[in-house]
Amino acid sequence: MNENVHTLDARGLNCPLPILRTKKAIAGMQAGEVLEVTSTDPGSVKDLDAFCSQTGNEMLSSEESGGEFHFRIRKAG
């Protein structure tokens, strides 16, 4: 199955901008679609976890490599 994947580059943005951009990106997606977010703000790890648990969206993966944080979030619904 091919997932419809959206991407968001939040590198260089500090809290709370990565969350606000993620929320906007997800609002424009269909339920079940996946958003890949890249950020550099260490605070975005906890923030995006909290965002997912509060909104019901699913954090598929959350990884760090080379000072960047990569998240895959599936929109609830």
């Binding site: 709370p16 606000l20 906007k24 605070g43 906890k46 923030d47």
Partner: protein
């Protein structure tokens, strides 16, 4: 960044953190210089006094907000009332991130300063009043748009905008007192429900 603007930026950032984390009165020029690793002489090259520095800190933070989360929340592409959800999210995640890092919820720098200096420093009080006025103008514009689009019934948009700002600052104050950013998440969204009707005579 050249050396001069780097030194000034370091002073501004240090002062912002110290004023926000503690208070205006509690932090002196000597301590700011020590934390920022600049000589006192350099400080007075850029700022005439601690008050002058506080004015610059307020401008600096207001600019950061205007170009950062305020621009993001008050995005014209969003529905007018939806913008307040983004504003509350911004306040909540900001305060939560700061508490996760420091263990204490810092509150709103402008609100903190307003409470502290309004009775003792007329210049700073007026400056903070201008910042609050600008914030409520942004709320006012969105409310006017919501009325024009028929999303809400006509109301006194200017007074409602001020009530919304008062509510937001009050919620942040309560959350700070409880040292619990969840208060912002629980109470914040009701900002959209505030309504002050038009009075016949004003």
């Amino acid at each position: 960044m050249n050396h001069v603007s780097d030194t000034k930026a370091r002073i501004l950032n240090t002062a912002r953190e110290l004023f926000h984390g503690r208070s205006y009165a509690d932090v002196g020029v000597k301590e700011i210089c020590e934390f920022a690793k600049v000589q006192k002489g350099s400080f007075y090259h850029f700022f005439t006094s601690k008050q002058d520095l506080a004015m610059a800190v307020i401008d600096d933070m207001a600019d950061d907000w205007a170009n950062g989360f305020v621009a993001e929340a008050f995005d014209k592409k969003l529905q007018p009332l939806e913008r307040f959800d983004y504003l509350i999210d911004a306040a909540y995640y900001w305060q939560k991130a700061a508490k996760d890092l420091e263990g204490r919820m810092p509150g709103c720098l402008f609100g903190n300063l307003a409470l502290e200096v309004s009775t003792r420093d007329e210049v700073l009080r007026a400056k903070l009043n201008a910042v609050f006025h600008k914030a409520s103008s942004q709320f006012h514009e969105s409310l006017d748009e919501a009325v024009d689009l028929g999303h809400i019934a006509p109301l006194d948009t200017e007074t409602t905008a001020q009530a919304m700002l008062a509510y937001l600052e009050g919620v942040i104050l309560l959350a700070k007192t409880r040292n619990d950013p969840e208060v912002v998440r629980t109470l914040g969204p009701a900002i959209k429900t505030l309504r002050i009707d038009k009075t016949i005579e004003k």
